[in-house]
Amino acid sequence: MDAILNPYYVDIVIFWIIYILLGLGLNLITGYAGQVSLGHAAFFGIGAYSSAILTVTYGVNPWISMIVSIGITFVVSAVLGLPSLRVREDFLAITTLGLGLIVQSFFKNAAITGGAFGIDSIPAPSIFGIELKNAGYLILSTVVMLLAIYALKKMTGSRIGRAWRTIREDETMAQAMGIHTTYYKVLAFAIGGAYAGLAGSLFAHKVSFISAESFGFSVSATVLSMVVLGGLGSIRGTIFGVTLLYFLPEIFRIFEFDLIDPKYLDIYKMMLYGLLMVLVMRFKPKGLFGNFGIKRSQFRFFRKAKAKEGGHVA
């Protein structure tokens, strides 16, 4: 039992769960509602910081702060999602990317977030007077993850999920069919952000120290590549993509292969992510389990037809 509950392995599993929550949130925004977001780390950071500030600065109970931080990210994400009403696709991508960088810059400079020093000694939640650490935290995260997956399944299978998918396929058509696109687009950002906020809250209480460095563009890009590899618009795909990309580098770390210098592991990991993003887009643009709409297959047909004539179409 001790070998299995080795804190190192437990930490790996907890961070894996955190990435799954991040991936699910992003998949909801990008995969289901079709709103490209490159600033997902901002929501993650907002969740982590609100949980940390509430417990450390204001002495709120960790349980309450976790729940409140989900509410805070829900509201903030809805506000940050408002630009999605004005801009589309690639422009939305740079807008969300800019938002992510602005939020990170705020973490780095504002007084309330501890500036460059970050926030430390964030307490872990406790139950019946026992602090949830290691195995206890693992159980908590697992329960949270299962609930989150269940909720997402329910949501995407319901009327809301169908509205999102219709908007993703064709916004004008969705509007013509009487779907309130404004409401659903902002709702997607809010719920997707709340998932990331939950992940951030779990992260803050786990590591007990956070700083702006943990919420940069590389996190957004990593989560995006995981989601894309698994397939946009598929819960199964997201879990698979996160698991694959997350554990591949960890295998090298755990077994201490002599092939590569562990010092460079993170660099190799990012290289692999980048390469996979290019290759998956090229050869399997729907991802491994993707469910990203009919529109694309229509385009593919055009592309094939054009390719014979000389191969150029914008």
């Binding site: 004005r86 696709e89 990317l97 190799y268 179409v313």
Partner: protein, 296 residues
């Protein structure tokens, strides 16, 4: 106070020309392909490292090294277009976007392995940074003059290319309507390649000059300038070269002024560009000089 203002204006114009050099490539690519080229910032970094390799290992003179860097970057830009973007033409824009981000992440990390992730000093290349006092409190370095000269030369080159060469006119036609241009017998793939090559070469020139100016280069140096170049492009109007020039100068001057006058802000000066970007996208998505883009 006024001296600080004048000094910051000088710095701002220098910075602005750097942004113009980087952003012109993006705006041309957008003009022709309607594609946001996310790997452009990496090209800028590749240029700086190519110049370093040229000076250190190939014993080049600084100006030769700069031309070498521009050539390497042009090649890299062309290859990125050919292998990461061209196969995805006509597919959903999200796919090219992700592909470009993937290329950027891959190259950034590859260079960290090749050249270590620590900042390095730019090698001695027979160029010494000399300071000129314009007045008692306003100074200018020769590197800053090179930056302004490179910006003006780059723009002059673009003007002549677009106005007087066959390929330039083809590029303009392609920017108007890619499909119509291809029906008129323009080899669109070649136009796109040339667009990427020119844009990449100009970005590389900016990278080399920045490395020389700050005497440091590192594999992630391109990410923030590359993203800011998007802000410049959106500010000036997508696809409009005059707009990019104005946008670049405006952003450079705003950043320098905020650096000189506002301290202890809640966001740092790098984030100002993104605040401007979002404001412009929300208020006037076509930018200062853009035509109304239907897509936005």
């Amino acid at each position: 106070m006024q001296d600080v203002l004048a000094q910051q204006l000088v710095n701002g114009v220098t910075l602005g020309f750097l942004y113009v050099l980087i952003a012109v490539g993006l705006t041309m690519v957008y003009g022709v392909l309607k594609l946001l080229h996310f790997a452009h910032g990496v090209i800028y970094m590749v240029g700086a490292f190519a110049a370093m390799v040229g000076i250190l290992y190939l014993k080049m003179n600084f100006f030769v090294a700069m031309l070498f860097a521009m050539a390497v970057a042009a090649g890299a830009g062309m290859l990125i277009e050919k292998y990461a973007y061209r196969p995805l033409r006509g597919v959903h824009p999200i796919t090219t976007l992700i592909s470009g981000i993937g290329v950027a992440i891959f190259l950034e990390n590859l260079f960290q392995i090749l050249f270590s992730s620590e900042p390095q000093a730019f090698p001695e290349a027979g160029i010494e940074v000399s300071i000129m006092q314009l007045t008692e409190s306003i100074s200018l370095t020769n590197v800053k003059l090179y930056i302004i000269a490179a910006g003006l030369l780059g723009l002059a080159f673009l003007y002549f290319f677009l106005k007087f060469t066959k390929m330039g006119i083809a590029t303009q036609a392609a920017a108007q309507d890619l499909r119509a241009a291809s029906l008129m017998g323009v080899n669109v793939n070649r136009v796109v390649s040339v667009t990427f090559m020119i844009g990449s070469a100009l970005a590389a020139a900016a990278g080399v000059l920045v490395a020389l100016n700050f005497n440091s280069l590192f594999p992630t140096m391109g990410s923030i300038p590359g993203l800011k170049a998007f802000c410049v492009v959106v500010l000036g109007g997508l696809g409009s070269i005059p707009g990019t020039v104005v946008g670049g100068l405006i952003l450079g001057i705003i950043e320098s002024l905020s650096d000189g006058f506002l301290t202890g802000m809640i966001i740092d000066k790098d984030a100002i560009a993104f605040v401007i970007l979002i404001a412009i996208l929300l208020v006037k998505p076509s930018g200062l000089f853009g035509q109304n883009v239907e897509k936005v």
